[in-house]
């Protein structure tokens, strides 16, 4: 599971103030190289929750992302490379995603998080 996917997920347990971002417990990570697409990255920059990405990357062992960013950084190839690496090349293979409010763990196996809720966690509509 890439951090781009992590960045779009929230805990969906009923009654939360905010289920984002999910914490990460790491048992196994992988790095898979993919070709960089600068235009895509510039587009994603505006959409990504930056703080959550930096924290997630750190948890996966990558500390090269700056804590504070501004759009002018998109002109830097070095910055783009790091952004690309964190967003698309780091994979959580085994571990868990953790609800930030309840601590409930959503297991991750073979890169696939299981976000299925138990019956008492679902908000009845």
């Amino acid at each position: 599971m890439r951090l781009l996917t992590h960045n779009m997920l929230s805990s969906n347990i009923k009654g939360l103030t905010s289920g984002f971002p999910l914490g990460i417990e790491v048992e196994k990570t992988e790095e898979k190289e993919v070709e960089m697409n600068a235009d895509f990255l510039r587009n994603m920059f505006a959409k990504v929750e930056w703080k959550a990405l930096v924290e997630a990357a750190k948890t996966l062992g990558y500390t090269e992302l700056p804590d504070n960013v501004e759009p002018s950084m998109l002109d830097s190839d070095e910055f783009l490379r790091r952004f690309h690496h964190a967003l698309l090349e780091l994979h959580l293979e085994e571990g868990a995603l953790v609800c930030p409010e309840t601590g409930r763990k959503f297991p991750v196996n073979k890169g696939i998080p299981n976000m299925l809720l138990h019956e008492d966690e679902i908000l009845l509509q």
């Binding site: 781009l4 779009m8 929230s10 984002f20 898979k32 895509f40 299981n114 299925l116 809720l117």
Partner: protein, 194 residues
């Protein structure tokens, strides 16, 4: 059973006219694509082959996801999968450009495909491609435009599925289903994070 399922889906895939999605509308290339109810991954994989930058598939069934993972490996595509119930998933509405989906038609649980459509229109920024039974065409159009935040709803083409007996609840050996391929455009949301 799974092989048959993949065969039937791949068979209909040739008719999906995905190239239309790419050539006419630019909804896939370099985009973030979500496949809701991805099953064996067919639609998400097609999106990947057509140049989507990142694809995430969502499905409730573990076995389907395992098959989808191996299909992705075979095609040398890197797709993320999430096991979940789409109807109670909290998903950002900023990241995903396009949703592609072949939702459950709601033959067993009425309205299942409408629930999928509702969620899809909340999270997609550009477009939702979805399959629904032709018999529900007017109903779908009305609800999409009036209730689900669609600014447009267009049937791109009509397909005929030959659905073989795949599941225990299928009573006939084979059934011929008329299905519409829709393209919905969501009204733009202001980037609120759900």
């Amino acid at each position: 059973m799974k092989l048959k399922q993949l065969e039937s889906l791949l068979g209909s895939l040739q008719q999906f006219d995905h190239p239309k999605a790419e050539n006419s509308f630019g909804d896939l290339c370099d985009k973030v694509v979500a496949d809701f109810g991805c099953g064996c991954g067919t639609l998400g994989l097609a999106a990947g082959l057509l140049g989507a930058e990142h694809v995430t598939g969502f499905d409730i069934d573990q076995e389907s996801i395992e098959i989808a993972t191996s299909n992705a490996d075979e095609l040398d595509l890197d797709i993320d999968f999430v096991q979940c119930d789409i109807r109670n998933l909290t998903l950002s509405d900023r990241h995903i450009d396009t949703v592609v989906m072949n939702p459950p038609f709601g033959t067993r649980k009425k309205g299942a495909d409408m629930e999928f459509l509702s969620v899809a229109l909340k999270v997609a920024s550009r477009a939702v491609y979805s399959l629904h039974k032709t018999s529900t065409r007017d109903h779908i159009k009305r609800r999409a435009l009036r209730e689900y935040n669609a600014s447009s709803a267009e049937v791109l083409c009509e397909l005929r599925f030959d659905v073989p007996q795949l599941y225990k609840f299928h009573k006939k050996k084979e059934v011929d289903v008329a299905v519409d391929l829709w393209r919905f455009v969501p009204t733009s949301n202001q980037g609120r994070h759900l």
